[in-house]
C-alpha cells in the first residue's frame, strides 16, 4: 500500500483468564482462557472507513477497545501513525488519546444521566486540556532525563570497549538468562498441554456419548435412540493416569538434559571470555576515546519551549460544545438538556459529538445504529459520511448490521471467534464473498423484499465457545464445505490470486469462491420435518 496506515495491528491478541476454582487448583486443571481476540492483523488508512462485521461474541468490540487502548493487548503489536503504542508512558498515552475516540455501544448507558449535555460532551475537552498541560510541563523534564540516560549508556559502552573480557562476560550472562527463561516457558507450556490433554480425556470419558454429528441443516434426528452413557471403568482411568505420568516423566528427563546443555554452554563461554585481551595499540586508542567522551559528552538536547495552555474555563467549554452540536445535527440549545430528554437518535448524536469534539483522527463506532429505527439510522449514517468528507476522519465501524457497513465502509473485515476470516473492499466482500462464513452471514440477513422469501437456511448450530478453542478453522463446526484439513490446521489469511487486496482465511478458498451466498438458502423444503406431537 502506498500511504502509511493510521492504525496497524500485527498479531494482536487479547485473552481474558477465567477464574480458577479451588477444585481446579487441587486437581491441577490448567487455567482456562477466553480468546476474545486471537491474532488479528488489520490496518486503517487515514480518512478510510473499515467495517468490522461479525456476530456477538466474535471479539469485534474487544478489538475496538484494544485499538483505543482501553484494554491492554495480551500479545501483538499496535502502531498508530508509525508510533508503537505499547511504548507510550502514561502522560503521553493520555495526550495520545485525543487521536482515537470511541462512540460506545449503548447510547443510554454511556451517557451519565446526572450530567448535562455540555458536561458530557465537554468532558473529553477537559481531559485533553489536562493532558496537554501535563505534557507541556513534563516534556522538558523527560527530554533532560532521556539525555542523561543516553550519556550514561554511551559512557558505559566506551568503557566496556576497553575491557573485552568483561564485555563478553556481560553478553554471556544476558544470553544465559534469556535461554533459561525460554527453557522455563517452553516446559511450562508443554506441561499445560499435557495437563489439558489428560483432563479433556477424563472429561470425555465421563461425558455421555455425543449424538452422531448431524449433517448441516438437519440438526437433531428425531426418533434416534437416546445416547447411552458408557460406564467409566477404573481401568480406563488408570490407563489415562499412567499415560499422563509417563508423559510427565519423559518431559522431566528432557527438561533436565536441556538445562544441562544450557549451563554447559555458559561455562564454556565464560572460559573463552577470560582469554580475551586487546593489543596495546587498540587499548591506547579506546582509552583515549573514553577519556575524550568523559571530557566532551554528548551534544546538549534541544528542549522545546512548550507553552502551558491555560485551564479550560466553563464558558469556553460550553462555547465549544455549542459549536459542535450543529455538526451532528442537534440544535445548540441542547447544551443545557439532560440525556433523558433525548430520543434514541438524539442520544446517539450526543455520543457522536462527544467523540468528535477533540477532533480525533480515528473514530471507533461501536454499533452506532443497533438501537435505532431505520429512518433515524439513515439520518445518522448520512451524517457520518458527510462528516468524513468534511473533516477527513477515519472510522472503524463495528457492527453486525451489514446494511450499515455497506453504506459507510470502504473496506470490510469479517470476524469470527476472535479471528479475521476475510478482508477486502466493501464491493468485493459484500458482492463476491469467498469465505463460507461471510457467505452465510450475508445469506442470513433478511431482505426487505417479498419476492425473495427464503424457506430454509442451511447453516446450523450456534456460535461455539471462545474458551480454549480447538485448533483448525474456527468455522469448521458449522461450515458446509468442511474437509478434514480444516479441523486440523488453521488457515492463515492469504491473498486470493486475481483479487488484489482481498484476503481470506480458508483452505478451500479457490474451490468455494464461486458459490453464491444465496445457495446457502435452499428453496426446496428440505428433509421432512418431524411430525408434530399429537
Amino acid at each position: 500500500m502506498s500511504a502509511s496506515p493510521l492504525v496497524e495491528t500485527t498479531g494482536l491478541e487479547k485473552h481474558f483468564p477465567l477464574t480458577r476454582t479451588a477444585t481446579d487448583v487441587f486437581t491441577g486443571r490448567p487455567r482456562r482462557v477466553i480468546h476474545a481476540v486471537d491474532g488479528v492483523t488489520i490496518s486503517v488508512m487515514p480518512g478510510e472507513t473499515v467495517g468490522l462485521i461479525g456476530e456477538s461474541g466474535s471479539g469485534k468490540t474487544t478489538l475496538g477497545w484494544v485499538i483505543a487502548r482501553l484494554h491492554d493487548p495480551t500479545r501483538g503489536a499496535l502502531r498508530f501513525a508509525g508510533q508503537d503504542l505499547m511504548k507510550l508512558d502514561e502522560d503521553r498515552l493520555r495526550r495520545w488519546r485525543q487521536n482515537v475516540q470511541v462512540v460506545f455501544q449503548d447510547p443510554v448507558g454511556s451517557l451519565d444521566p446526572r450530567l448535562k449535555v455540555w458536561q458530557i460532551v465537554g468532558e473529553p475537552l477537559r481531559a485533553q486540556n489536562q493532558a496537554e498541560r501535563w505534557f507541556a510541563r513534563n516534556e522538558p523534564k523527560r527530554i533532560r532525563l532521556e539525555h542523561r540516560l543516553a550519556v550514561r549508556k554511551e559512557r558505559e559502552r566506551l568503557w566496556l570497549e576497553c575491557r573485552p573480557a568483561e564485555k563478553e562476560r556481560r553478553r554471556l550472562v544476558t544470553e544465559h538468562t534469556e535461554a533459561l527463561a525460554e527453557w522455563q516457558r517452553q516446559y511450562e507450556e508443554e506441561r499445560v498441554q499435557l495437563d489439558r490433554q489428560y483432563h479433556y480425556a477424563l472429561d470425555a470419558l465421563r461425558a455421555p456419548a455425543p449424538t452422531p454429528a448431524a449433517a448441516p441443516g438437519t440438526p437433531g434426528t428425531p426418533g434416534a435412540p437416546p445416547p447411552v452413557s458408557p460406564r467409566v471403568t477404573v481401568a480406563d482411568r488408570q490407563r489415562l493416569t499412567a499415560e499422563y505420568r509417563k508423559g510427565l516423566a519423559a518431559q522431566a528427563k528432557r527438561q533436565a538434559a536441556d538445562h544441562e546443555r544450557i549451563e554447559q554452554r555458559y561455562r564454556d563461554g565464560l572460559k573463552r571470555a577470560r582469554g580475551l585481551t586487546l593489543t596495546p595499540q587498540e587499548r591506547q586508542q579506546r582509552e583515549a576515546a573514553y577519556r575524550a567522551f568523559l571530557k566532551k559528552g554528548l551534544p546538549p538536547p534541544v528542549i522545546p519551549k512548550i507553552p502551558v495552555p491555560p485551564v479550560l474555563r466553563r464558558s469556553k467549554v460550553r462555547e465549544r460544545v455549542a459549536g459542535i452540536l450543529p455538526m451532528v445535527g442537534l440544535p445548540d440549545y441542547c447544551v443545557d438538556q439532560y440525556p433523558h430528554e433525548f430520543s434514541g437518535g438524539g442520544r446517539q448524536r450526543v455520543s457522536l459529538a462527544r467523540a468528535l469534539i477533540v477532533n480525533p483522527k480515528l473514530v471507533i463506532l461501536d454499533e452506532p445504529t443497533s438501537a435505532l429505527d431505520v429512518a433515524v439510522q439513515a439520518q445518522i449514517l448520512n451524517r457520518l459520511v458527510e462528516l468524513q468528507k468534511e473533516r477527513g476522519y477515519a472510522y472503524l465501524l463495528i457492527t453486525h448490521n451489514v446494511a450499515a457497513v455497506r453504506y459507510v465502509a470502504d473496506r470490510v473485515a469479517v470476524m469470527y471467534l476472535g479471528r479475521i476470516v476475510e478482508v477486502g473492499s466493501v464491493h468485493g466482500v459484500l458482492e463476491k464473498p469467498i469465505h463460507p462464513y461471510t457467505k452465510a452471514l450475508l445469506a442470513a440477513v433478511p431482505v426487505a423484499d417479498v419476492r425473495r422469501r427464503r424457506t430454509r437456511f442451511r447453516i446450523g448450530g450456534d456460535v461455539p465457545s471462545l474458551v480454549d478453542p480447538p485448533p483448525g478453522c474456527r468455522f469448521a463446526a458449522r461450515c458446509p464445505f468442511v474437509v478434514d484439513r480444516c479441523r486440523a490446521e488453521y488457515p492463515p489469511l492469504r491473498e486470493i490470486p486475481g483479487v488484489p487486496g482481498h484476503l481470506v482465511s480458508c483452505h478451500r478458498a479457490e474451490e468455494v469462491a464461486d458459490i453464491a451466498p444465496a445457495s446457502l438458502l435452499s428453496t426446496e423444503p428440505g428433509p421432512p420435518a418431524p411430525p408434530a406431537p399429537a
Binding site: T49, E55, S56, P208, P210, T211, A214, P219, G220, P222, P226, P227, S343, G344, D373, V374, A375, V376, Q377, A378, Q379, L381, N382, V385, E386, H400, V402, A403, A404, R406, Y407, V408, A409, D410, V426, H427, A440, L441, A443, A444, V445, P446, V447, A448, D449, V450, R452, R453, R454, T455, R456, F457, I459, G460, D462, V463, A529, P530, A532, P533
Partner: protein
C-alpha cells in the same frame, strides 16, 4: 371478517404518566385471519408493542388504561374480561413470545419444568376438566392462589416459585402424577426435537442461563407451540439474536406455522424480518394504523407516504451511490399529537384537508386490491411520489 381468530375494533389505549395522559394506541382496528401471519411494523414508540401486550391483557393497568374499543376473541370481548380470569385464556388461547429470551424464562427453573408446565396446562384444558380459578391440585398452579400468610411461609407450607402450595401437597401431587410424568416427559422431548434442539435429554436438565440466545428463544417457541394457541403474538422475537441464529429461528417458525395450525401476530421494526414471514402487513405510526394490506401489495406499491418513506430508508446502497433517504422531521410527541393526520408535518403531499380533525381512518383505495387499505386522503397519489 368471518374467520378471524382475533378481531380488534377501534381499540384505544392510554398511558397515565406524570405529564398527563397520552394515547399510545388510538382507534386501531385489526383482524387476524385464521392460519395467517399478520405483521406489524413501525418505529419505536408507535404503539406496536402496546397493542401486542394489550391483546392478552398483559399491560400493567394502570398506568395503561384501555380507553375504548373491543378485542373479540372466540366470541368474548377481552376488554371486559376481569383480569384475574385472563390466565385461563392466556397460554392455550393467546400465547406470546417476548423479545428478550433471557428475561422471559424463569432463571430458577430447569428447561424441563418450564416446558412441562406449558404442556401440562394444555392437557388439563384439553381434558375438559372444569378449570377453577383457585389453586388446582396439579403439579402447577396457574390460577389465582390465596396469598400466603407469614405463618404459612414460616412453617414451610408455602414455597416461593408457585410449584406447589406446601411440601405435603407436593408429595400428594407427585404420587398422583407419577404415571403421567413419563408421558409428560416424552411429550416435552418431542417438542424440543420439533424446534430442532440437539440432544434434548441433556438440555432438559439445564437452566436457561446455560443456553445460548438462540437456544433460549427456541425453548420459548417450544413452550408457546406446546400449548397450541389459537393466536401467537411474537413481539420482536429475533431482535436479540445474531443474524445467522435469526435466520434459523425464522426458518423454524415458518415451518412450524404450517405444522401447528396457528395464527401469528408478528411485531417487528425490521422490514426484512417482516418481509420473510408475514402474509398481511399493518404499518403503525404514532399510535395509529396507517396502512394495512397483503404484504406483497404493501411492499410493491405502498399507499401511504409514511410506508413509502419507511421502505426507502432501509440502507441498501453504497456510499458512492449517494446519500440514504431518510424521513424529514421527527416522530410527534404523543401527549400533544398534531391535529388531523399524524403524519402531515412530515408529509410532502400534505394539504389543508390533512390538518383538520378527525384523523383519516383506514379506507379502501381506488385502483388497489380489495383488501388493501390506507389512512391517507390522497392514497392514489402516493405511487407517483418520488
Amino acid at each position: 371478517m368471518p374467520d378471524a381468530v382475533v378481531s380488534i375494533q377501534h381499540l384505544s389505549i392510554d398511558y397515565l404518566v406524570a405529564a398527563g395522559r397520552f394515547r399510545a394506541v388510538s382507534d386501531v382496528s385489526l383482524d387476524v385471519p385464521r392460519g395467517h401471519v399478520v405483521g406489524i411494523v413501525g418505529e419505536t414508540g408507535c404503539g406496536k408493542s402496546t397493542l401486542g401486550q394489550a391483546i392478552p391483557r398483559l399491560l400493567p393497568e394502570p398506568p395503561a388504561i384501555i380507553g375504548g374499543g373491543k378485542i373479540m376473541f372466540q366470541g368474548v370481548d377481552l376488554v371486559k374480561v376481569p383480569l384475574w380470569k385472563m390466565p385461563l385464556i392466556r397460554g392455550t388461547g393467546i400465547n406470546m413470545i417476548f423479545q428478550e429470551p433471557l428475561n422471559s424464562l424463569n432463571p430458577a427453573f430447569r428447561v424441563y419444568d418450564q416446558v412441562a408446565e406449558a404442556v401440562h396446562i394444555r392437557r388439563i384444558r384439553e381434558s375438559g376438566r372444569p378449570v377453577a380459578s383457585r389453586a388446582q391440585p396439579g403439579p402447577y398452579n396457574y390460577g389465582r392462589r390465596p396469598e400466603p400468610t407469614p405463618s404459612d411461609v414460616w412453617s414451610g407450607k408455602f414455597t416461593p416459585g408457585g410449584a406447589a402450595a406446601s411440601y405435603a401437597h407436593r408429595r400428594e401431587v407427585e404420587r398422583r402424577s407419577r404415571e403421567t410424568g413419563e408421558e409428560l416427559r416424552r411429550e416435552v422431548l418431542d417438542y424440543l426435537r420439533l424446534v430442532r434442539i440437539n440432544d434434548p435429554e441433556t438440555i432438559l436438565n439445564l437452566y436457561p442461563h446455560e443456553l445460548s440466545g438462540g437456544m433460549r428463544q427456541r425453548i420459548m417457541i417450544a413452550m408457546a407451540l406446546s400449548e397450541k394457541p389459537s393466536l401467537l403474538i411474537a413481539d420482536e422475537p429475533t431482535s436479540a439474536l445474531d443474524v445467522t441464529i435469526q435466520a434459523q429461528v425464522l426458518t423454524l417458525m415458518k415451518e412450524l406455522i404450517e405444522e401447528v395450525n396457528t395464527s401469528i401476530l408478528f411485531i417487528s421494526h425490521d422490514l426484512g424480518v417482516i418481509a420473510e414471514t408475514a402474509d398481511e402487513l399493518g404499518v403503525m405510526y404514532a399510535g395509529r394504523m396507517v396502512e394495512f394490506g397483503p404484504i406483497a401489495e404493501v411492499f410493491e406499491s405502498p399507499r401511504h407516504p409514511y410506508t413509502k418513506f419507511l421502505l426507502r430508508a432501509a440502507p441498501t446502497r453504497y456510499k458512492t451511490d449517494g446519500p440514504l433517504l431518510s424521513i424529514p422531521g421527527n416522530v410527534p410527541n404523543l401527549s400533544r399529537p398534531p391535529p388531523g393526520c399524524r403524519f402531515h408535518p412530515r408529509c410532502p403531499i400534505a394539504r389543508p384537508k390533512c390538518r383538520v380533525d378527525p384523523s383519516p381512518t383506514l379506507m379502501p383505495i381506488a385502483g388497489a386490491g380489495p383488501e388493501h387499505t390506507s389512512a391517507c386522503h390522497y392514497a392514489e397519489e402516493v405511487p407517483t411520489l418520488s
